[in-house]
Amino acid sequence: MKKTSKVVKYNKWGYIFLIPFIVIYLVFQMIPLVTTIYNSFFENYRSGLKIIGPNFVGIQNFITIITNGDLPTYFKNTMIMWIMGFVPQIVISLILGAWFTDPSLRLKGQAFFKTVMYLPNLIMASAFAMLFFTLFSLSGPINSILLQIGVIKEAYQFMAHVWSVRWLVAFMNCIMWFGNTTILLMAGMMGIDPSLFEAAQVDGATATQIFYKITLPLLKPILIYVMITSLIGGLQMFDVPQILTNGTGDPMRSSMTLIMYLNKHLFSKNYGLGGALSVFMFIITGILSLIVFKFTNSGEKN
């Protein structure tokens, strides 16, 4: 009898230790989420010095951001730049991961290469984008080098063409994240039962065959995990295009991402449209999160 009450007495500490998390989460995440959703149903913006609203307008804000083309355009921009960065990233990561974990190659200097590859991930994205802006400017060193070695005849305006800006953003994202992806995939590859490789080796399989027939299929759960988490990260793409284009998403707002658009509304205090956009983002990332959750959770059980 005494023992049970003592256990119960201890277990109330489970709740006590959870208090900081719960309180802070409720205040700084839950309440803002609720008020964001609430705001999305109201017309509330500034016109000059005048504040319009808040007036209840139902789902008018959602209709507005879809029918005026903003949401579809910026969603498309975000996805294009994400795909342009993600495809090379996953290909490089898979190849490097396979090489690093391949015992027959016995690559030296792995620690060095991993350190170098992970480095760009820790760099301040805004400073990195500012650096690229100066390096790829009209009189910057990249143009200067290309002119000197004779690749181009006159300086190329990287910032004035739709696809060069998009490629720069995608390239920066790729450089910043491929190291992280490689390390994640390597962890997955090293978790594969070595006897499978041995058996394939005995049967005379080549390295390429082993990669396609064993490594890749067994890596599928991690690949999907990496893809979805990267997609969630991609939807949040902000710092790099924001600084690179000074928040304009130029040329012709072709590199304007969803969060840059949200940021614009937050600064101009257009809470109605900003709220609708946030709710849209919340629903997409929520669905994607549930998929990730399913993966991490099934990993838990094993």
Binding site: F17, Q29, P103, A127, Q201, S278, N297
Partner: protein, 292 residues
Amino acid sequence: MANNQNNYMMSTESNGVSVHARRVLAYTVLVLVSFLCLFWFYLLFINSTRSNAELTRGFTPFPSNYLKTNWINLKNGTLPIFSGMVNSLIVAALTAALATYFSTMTAYAIHAYEFKLKKFMFTFILMVMMIPTQVTALGFIQLIGKMGLDDKFTPLIVPAIASPAVFFYMKQYMDSVLPLSLVEAARIDGSGELRTFNSIVVPLMKPAIAVQAIFSFVTSWNNYFTPALVLHTDSKKTLPILIAQLRSADWLKFDMGQVYVMIAFSIFPVIIVYLILSRYIVGGLTLGGVKG
């Protein structure tokens, strides 16, 4: 790594030539990739040592000797870079401290105790883990306005107490290093629950705390979105906001040498610290992450 595979594969040397060719290919690609990672920082370093006049004349691969001049010009310029760095340091250090300590505490609550809402809380935290802060930014800004916390560091630091991703890492690590018998033993010795946590659990979790402290610090140090919405006074701004200001300034009139030194000033400290700690960072990445 994967030592057990080694012997077996070495015995099948029938394709020795192709292994050699593949090794050459692998090193070539690795060198190329490393070049793509480092080249920009090399350009940054070279250009921050050159004067504006030299910079406009075109690129040379060798450093010049204007680094100090550029630095002095930047220091005497209009951007409050020192307060920017101090502000970034304060916010990032406190964020890292709160995120690691309280995430360890949250993980301990789920790990060591049996209570009704345990399963629910664990599931809940995992589910909200991936939801980005940007989607609640609107409500967040309104809330801190009402709380009178606008233009203060508090709304950038305190929310770190609830960091689901740090919690998840701590929980994973705790599962592998903290046996409940240890907690039982402490109880028999008459140690209170909070004291057990502080004097036994936290020290045992040190490696995980170190890894997560670094990551929380860097994330906060690099964060631009939220601080830009919260901080308005020049003397309170953090480095990323100053970088954005540099970008939106009429930059052609600028001394480009100063611009490069400013970028170097925000990038190189992190690179130096990273190179010192890289062993722990790269190794710690997968410590509590996804398992194959």
